[in-house]
Amino acid sequence: MTAPTAIKIIKPHSERSAMDDLREILASRELLLVLARREIAIRYRQAVIGFLWVVLQPLVSTAIFTIVFMVFVRIPSDGQPYPLFAFSGLVVWQFFSRIVVDGTGSLVANTALITKVSFPRQIIPLVPPLAAVLDCLIAVMALMVIALAFGAHVHWTVIFVPAILLAVTFFGYSIVLWLAPLNAIYRDIGITAPFVMQVGMYLSPIVYPASLVPQKIRWLYQLNPVAVMVDSMRWAVLDSPPPSPGGLALFAGLSIVLFWGGGRFFRNVEGTLVDRI
């Protein structure tokens, strides 16, 4: 009995605002961290090489794409060594993809929790980004080591990496605010998500450069939010050209709109989510 008593009023429909949401997330940060730590702890437990998998996973993907695109198809990689080019794209992509795919399934995966305990539900989709960011940062470090090995020098802009990851998290979380409750009601969403993400990957300049896209539609291609994320990462680590201003603006705008609407939607359904999950 430590905290001062607060009066809480429960009504059929939530009357919280986006600010209340953020305040609640902040207030339950301890729980958020504990849940994230659980995710991290169980991910590589009872695996012989444990945390090595963090680096190994993007490395293996990179190796596969390197073999496919350098040996069999032979495509340009915008002046960067192809493995470096692909790895830098994959690091961001895998981070984003995990946020969206795990986030979409997060409410369903935590059914046992949300049907038994009351806490701000909006922290649940925040657990996958928190759990994934550690993996991502390790992968970025591996990327820098590889860059140095290839004789490229790591640019000072690398200090922007955390900011980029934060932006990716915000964008991904905004999408998940929609998809996670929808998936709790219609499981079709969660089943579709990995396929959509796969298509998304090939629609974005991750394993091939944007220069392969016909000039006529390239402006449209570069508005792609994923392209913006990937270009930003390459800019920060490899000093390649930054994303287009139009793309950046669209990315920012889209993030804010999705976040605002997603927050509203989430608050709207969370009260009865337990009954429909």
């Binding site: 009504k11 059929p12 429909h13 169980i42 038994k116 305990v117 009351s118 009601i185 009260g271 009954d275």
Partner: protein, 419 residues
């Protein structure tokens, strides 16, 4: 005294057949979708399909004062768990409003969020955080928690290597050290071995003794009576009565909520429980004259008759009965030696002797099983219910007119001599 929980006009509506909803009405889903996204319409959409909805709770209004220990009691499906979920903010009410003053802690099950891969230590911190304890608070109470659970030696072992009893003990220990102003509990006491249960009940009494508000849901009247000072009886989603546990207990077991059934029968063959070897046809309560009855005087014998169909002959069958009072099994009875008979309809009857049961409300469970290999052909937990009443002028009572405690009250022989 200020009120801790004020509930006014709270109702909860549920939809029947969730699966049918997603499949049958794909088109409707699409049209309602847009509306729902912007927040308009879920209620309208629901009202349009009123035939497919039902009220799990209807118009509940009550006030729980600070420091009160309130028991919510009712049969399965009476809405008590729904009410608890609304109070603990797990699900939102459909109508009405709640006003809660103070930090709440919810215990709807023990070990919520326990992860089998993590060690006992890690799970204590995880579970504690999920229940709303701060890291500092858990760290401070850690030794006490581990001590209470009695599994110090295994605290760094992954929980998946624990026996289920050990898991429960650890989980309950965390829960028992939860320290909110308002504690909301759902029959979590129905866990663990008898000794641990006793320990938990003791701990609960400590908790309820120090001025904390406790809301406790159970269908075990005994636990409610021993812990609570105020009681609420729910029946079919409505509040039937509130008052002291004694008053509510009587109401629960004597009239209203306590179902009386002198016969269990089935409308069609399909509904009859059983296996390919034997199926239950009917169970009845009969009196000495062979008439179906549900009210017995203590001076009467109570006959439990069970009719079953044997479909396959090569199996030894043992009919058995359980007599329960307030969810506690008082005794089990089965004939000595199995029955090995040709297929056909059979009837087994057991007679509970007169002057054996105390006056009160009893439930009978009927079952048929085979000893080797062990097969339970059917088990009907709440098959029959009956009352035993008594004449308070009965000479057995030696002039005592108040309720005599106990489940059974056999007349036993006393030796009397000059010492």
């Amino acid at each position: 005294m200020t009120s801790a929980i004020e509930i006014s006009g709270v109702g909860k509506q549920y939809r029947r057949g969730m699966q049918a909803y997603t499949y049958h009405r794909a088109s409707e889903v699409m049209t309602n979708w847009g509306k729902r996204l912007i927040g308009a319409g879920p209620r309208e959409a629901r009202a349009a399909r009123a035939d497919e909805t039902f009220w799990a709770l209807k118009d509940i209004s009550l006030t729980i004062e600070q420091g009160q220990v309130v028991g919510i009691i009712g049969r399965n499906g009476s809405g008590k768990s729904t009410l608890l979920k609304i109070i603990s903010q797990i699900t939102a009410p459909t109508t009405g409003e709640l006003r809660i003053t103070g930090r709440t802690g919810t215990l709807l099950e023990v070990g919520t969020g326990f992860h089998p891969e993590l060690s006992g230590r890690e799970n204590v911190f995880l579970n504690g955080a999920i229940l709303g304890m701060s890291r500092q608070e858990i760290a401070r109470k850690f030794d006490e928690i581990v001590d209470f659970s009695g599994i110090e030696a295994f605290i760094d072992t992954p929980v998946k290597r624990y026996s289920s009893g050990m898991q429960t003990r650890l989980a309950f220990s965390v829960a028992a050290h939860l320290d909110p102003e308002i504690l909301i509990i759902d029959e979590v006491l129905a866990v663990g071995d008898a000794e641990f249960q006793k320990k938990c009940l003791g701990k609960m009494k400590d908790v309820t003794g120090d001025g904390r508000t406790v809301v406790f849901v159970s269908h075990n009247m005994n636990t409610v009576t021993s812990l609570c000072n105020e009681c609420i009886l729910l029946e079919e989603g409505q509040m039937l009565a509130s008052g002291t546990p004694d008053v509510i207990s009587d109401l629960y077991y004597s009239s209203g909520a306590g179902r009386i059934g002198s016969r269990l029968s089935f409308n069609s063959d399909k509904e009859r429980p059983g296996t390919d070897i034997a199926k239950l046809c009917e169970a009845r309560l009969i009196n000495e004259r062979g008439h179906e009855a549900s009210n017995f005087d203590r001076s009467e014998k109570v006959g439990v008759e069970i009719t079953y169909e044997v479909l396959w002959a090569g199996c030894s069958l043992i009919p058995n009965f359980r007599v329960l009072m307030q969810d506690l099994c008082i005794f089990i009875s089965s004939p000595s030696g199995g029955i090995e008979v040709a297929p056909g309809l059979y009837k087994s009857t057991m007679w509970i002797p007169s002057k054996f049961l105390n006056s009160g409300y009893y439930t009978i469970a009927v079952a048929l099983s085979s000893p080797s290999p062990v097969v339970v052909h059917f088990y009907e937990g709440e098959a029959l219910q009956f009352h035993v009443t008594e004449d308070i002028t009965d000479p057995d009572r030696n002039g005592y007119t108040l309720q005599i405690p106990g489940f059974i009250r056999p007349v036993l022989n006393w030796d009397f001599e000059k010492a």
